[in-house]
Amino acid sequence: MPDSASLSITCAGLTKIHDNGVAAVDALDLRFEAGRTTALIGPSGCGKSTLLRLVAGLDRPTTGTVGIAGLPPVQQARRGVISMAFQDPSLLPWLTLRKNVALARKLARQPADPRLVDELIALVGLEGFQETRPAALSGGMRQRAAIARALATRPQVLLLDEPFGAVDELTRRQLARDLPPLWQPLGTTTLLVTHSVDEAVLLADRIVVLSPRPARVVADLPVPLPHPRLPQLTETPAFRRIAARALQALAQGVGDNPALAAQ
């Protein structure tokens, strides 16, 4: 199984200036260790989605490079090792839930695996909806379906862009407990963009706090908590301590920005 070979991600001098002149990412140097889960948090509009798209090879950097195990993302994408769940679930409306999830494997040129597909659907709590079309699912259900789809290729690089935005709090905590065990044994390198500090601490091994646009690293915090992380963990002092530091860094990042501080 090629799965066992984990891939690290390196951003060097990564800069993205959009066509309209907006600098979303500016000279970012970051390394994401193979097989670890990193949460990226930062104010909305700071460039998190842009960073993820650069790592996925969907956008080209203006300057600087992204390397996934030393290769350009586009080349790794062609091997079918990258998977991304988008902010907008973007399921194909004409396919049933099961076929939407299975499509990812087809696109990645992997053999069909109905058992894995059904397992993933059950795991994100959508059992019984396999034959339902996206229009009949709620926003949160669609997001969970998109997560199942992203996992269906057993990716080595998993990019999750605010995957729980529309998921209710209880389900979100269940997912935070159930999902990491899925990708950890695969040695998947995961980047998780989120707005929720608690979610970051629950899911990640490391939290990178970004400043307002263009994104710079304000803080880089390890999360030395054991897995599996049960929902009760959020009440423990260790958890709250890390969460508090992340929150503080977030506020500091905003305060650092003279334009926002003046407001």
Partner: protein, 515 residues
Amino acid sequence: MTALARRAGPVLLLLLLWQLAATATGGQFLLAGPAEVAAWLSDNPGLVGRALSVTLASAAWGFLAGNLAAILLVAAAMLWPPVLGLLTGLALIVFCLPLIATGPILRVMMGPGDGPQVVLAALAVYYTTLIPLLAGLRAVPSAWIDLVACLGRGHLAQLVHVRARAALPYLVAGMQIAAPAAFLGAMVGEFTGAERGMGVLTVRFIRDLNTAALWSLASIAALVSIAVYLGVGAAGRFLRLERPPVILAPPRLPQGSAGRRLGRAVLLAGATLVLWWGGMEALGLNPFFAKRPPDLFAALFLAPDAGATWQALLQAAAQTAVFVLPGYLAGLALGTGLAVALSLVPALSGLVTPLAIALRSVPVVTTAPLVVLLLGQGALGTIALVALMVFFPTFVACQHGLQQAPGQILDILRSHGAGRVPQMRHVRLPAMLPAFFASARMGVPAAILAVTVVEWLATGRGLGNLMTLSASLSDYTMLWLTVVLVTLASVLCHGGVAWIERRVLRLYAPEQVEG
């Protein structure tokens, strides 16, 4: 049962009104009612049956050929995107060719068989398939494309897994409009000297002034068109296809500077000339009827009678313009106005909408002789026909556009206690604009087709008359000149509408100009 009654109600009402009008006018206005039509049909079942089967066959072949051509052209544009602009430009030019003039030319090229009818039917359908298909293939959320890309796949996988299926509803919606158009094209082809078919019978009964027969033929044409329109729609519902938002909006090309746009126009004109001239040479077409660009240039600028040629052309063009412009504008205004009015008074819409959707597919041009019989050969008849031709598609498109208004925004307005009129102004009208402009653009060639048919069949004026006169005198230079003139005018008006559209949308619906 009630659903059936709801649908049958408007139809029965229409039949009743029609019969009342016929009885009341008592033959004075050459109006035959449903009773007379039924009587004539039961007297001549064989005649009508044979003609109908001939025309249906031509229409079916043309429908197949036109749709196939559209699909192949679109596939080419998808595989090699840079040709998209040129391809849609050429497609528009071919769509703007005046059928009334291309008919006789095809006739001399292909002889008295079914060839010209099939080609005209194909010409009448391919554009209304091509444009929706392109729109459907391109109207795909970028996230779907990202999904394919991040799994490492390219254009082909995009096409197979995402775009093709996303375009299917657009294809079916385009075919739904195309199916009656194929019937219309076949009939116009038969007008130009076929031996059998509904068009031939129509021309014969115009000469005999046989009102009952003319009304019967028009009724049959209408019924057939409605049937195929509803049939394709039912097929779409059977496949559980969703209805696309706007289907006849041509793809938006990158705008670029004025210089770039001029460059594109020159390229398009050059490609047209090359295809026209080169095609004729390649097929070895007889220069007697297949006029090349230099022949026309000589006739306009070098020949001793160039002055007379100019005068004949311009005079005819002026006569046509006087009818086509008011009719076109009236059709647009009435179609839009009725759609807006019905949206404000929804109670009426249940009665009018089924009728309009059915009548939209009626090949108005095939009723040209009747409208002229009813309203006389003066300005009114012609203008009314042009207006009718533009009215139905505009009405249906605008009504569909009004329903596209985003429900959440309407809910917000309602929650603030806004009534129907503010809802209309702030949400529904902007949502309707793309559909309105799509029909305004498509209405240009339709209006010109309508006016030239009336001029030819009835009034004996304008470009339509000049075309048929030139055809009967074998003056192929003049015939080609009218083709070029009408096509050029159509394309320019089409471009003019698109120009206004861009300006208006930028003001009132900026989100629909992007991308």
